[in-house]
Amino acid sequence: MIARYLPDYLESSAAEYPDKVAVFDPSGRTITYGLLNQQADALAGFLCARGVKRGDRVGVVLPKSIEAVVALFGILKAGAAYVPVDYSAPAKRGQRILGDCRVRAVVIDGRCGEMIPPADEPGMALSTIITVDLPTHQGSSGRAGATTLAAVFEAKLAPPRHPRSRSDLAYILYTSGSTGMPKGVMLTHENALSFVDWCSDVFEPSAADRFSSHAPFHFDLSILDIYLCVKHAAELHLLSEELGKNPKELAEFIAARQLTIWYSTPSILTLLVQFGHLDKYDYQRLRLVLFAGEVFPVKHLRTVQRQWPGATFYNLYGPTETNVCTFARIPANIPDARDAPYPIGHLCEHCHAMVLDNDHVEVPRGNEGLLYISGNSVFSGYWNRPADTANAFVVRRGARWYNTGDVVRWDPQDGFVYIGRNDRMVKRRGYRIELGEIERALYLHPNLREAAVVSVADGGMVLEIIAFLSCQDGEKPSIIELKTFCKAKLPAYMSPDRFVVLDRLPRTSTDKVDYQTLNSLVPPSITVSARA
């Protein structure tokens, strides 16, 4: 099937398998392909009746649920782009994201009302609020002027028949921004379709497959889970955020649901190995294990592979801006002697790559340099940030090439080998973190005079984030107070692990924070079994 639009995948699966279960939610509720398509149509019809037009943005603030999947497809069918927001993040952050991209409508958990941007914000055109009462937590919504999703389904308005183009915006994923404001990565239907179609060729899924959906929908790993699964009329098994972090439950869940395809960050797989008691369960059906988002230390990868001998493992690499652009198949039986992480591997068919130095000059093959990617999966730009967009690309041979910021080396056998980064972006549990964003949040604390944040990598993966602070005269906040403050300002994965208060931060001769000196002041790491 040649899809022109992401909802084409759903429409074709619904036509062929109307009664087959499409989605299992965390509590075991299910929805068929036929009903999923009907409900998405009804939502699309409703949004259009409320004036949502092609290219408009619609926020989605929902926990992992059938309703959330309906929302994504309904919004796409309306010709709009969805903007998924972490419902558990601080309300202020959600509000800034929804305000930044000027959402026309939101589909929101009744408990997250604080995230709705104020209507009097300049340029805001928010006309429609659809609240969702999830069966697991009843009786929450009832917001004035809001419509419930149940009422939308009852109205059964017919979906619109817009002109469609593969280059229409499909979704905006917000990632950490160094200025303190998350930045919106705009991805088109074409960007996602080219990646999903490549996955079909390489992973050959079928309607008999059972996909995990571990990543939250605001995380780019969800694109493979949702659209590859729906394209092949397979089953999508949604994991709640709580379950996703609980290795004991997770180990049981993967076996009990007889999942065949697993996709997550290495962090989660490592937790499964350490705390999941994998030897207690039967994983015979598991045939494919995909991981992405960060380096996977080989000792843990080897252990997972031995626990799941029937599965083929792949390392997928690519920033949100390019989607997956290189991949490496991990050989069966990783040798005991190997301790170097596996390479990010060879280019996917939908991408082209070049390796440039800091002056944008191509380096000789085999030398280290920055990886640039072009191709159909590469994003169109950052929402409302023309300068950042321009800085992210170079133009060569008539094409736009995205600077991943990742330093790599080409090896004829391994393909691309990941070396590291030369800026202040770090990864923790697969999430991108701009250390500058944490500093901006800390500067909001009334008692702090200076803040500088550094990170410590351990074995290529586990990362500690350390905040160095100096205080205004007088009150020195306690560590507990600082933790609580960060919890209110930042998503949990960005909160520093340690705080070190100094009289004043070291500065260079040009009066910039001296990060080199700070790195030497990092106190020795604490051994915690959960972080080992």
Binding site: N246, I480, A492, D497, R531
Partner: protein, 84 residues
């Protein structure tokens, strides 16, 4: 003198609040809802409790309602110790 609560307190302070005075972490200070313990921190504490006290906390014991204060955690441990 309450050794159980102090042992938990010492572990949390040394692993997740280095530099903090143990006196600031009271038996009723919120742990999860305040950001002191994230999901990994909670796992670390559950394993510590298992090693230290031979008590396995289950999903019920580790939900936010029963895991948000040293007092609640200590009571879960005490309940399980009685039953063993």
């Amino acid at each position: 003198m309450d050794q159980l609560r102090d042992t938990i307190r010492e572990f949390i302070v040394s692993h997740y609040l280095p530099g903090e005075s143990p006196d600031n972490l009271r038996n009723d200070t919120p742990l999860v809802s305040s950001g002191i313990l994230d999901s990994l921190g909670a796992l670390g504490l559950v394993s510590f409790i298992s090693e230290q006290f031979g008590v396995e906390l289950d999903v019920y014991d580790t939900s936010v309602e029963h895991f948000d204060r040293i007092e609640d955690i200590a009571q879960s441990i005490e309940r399980k110790q009685v039953r063993q």
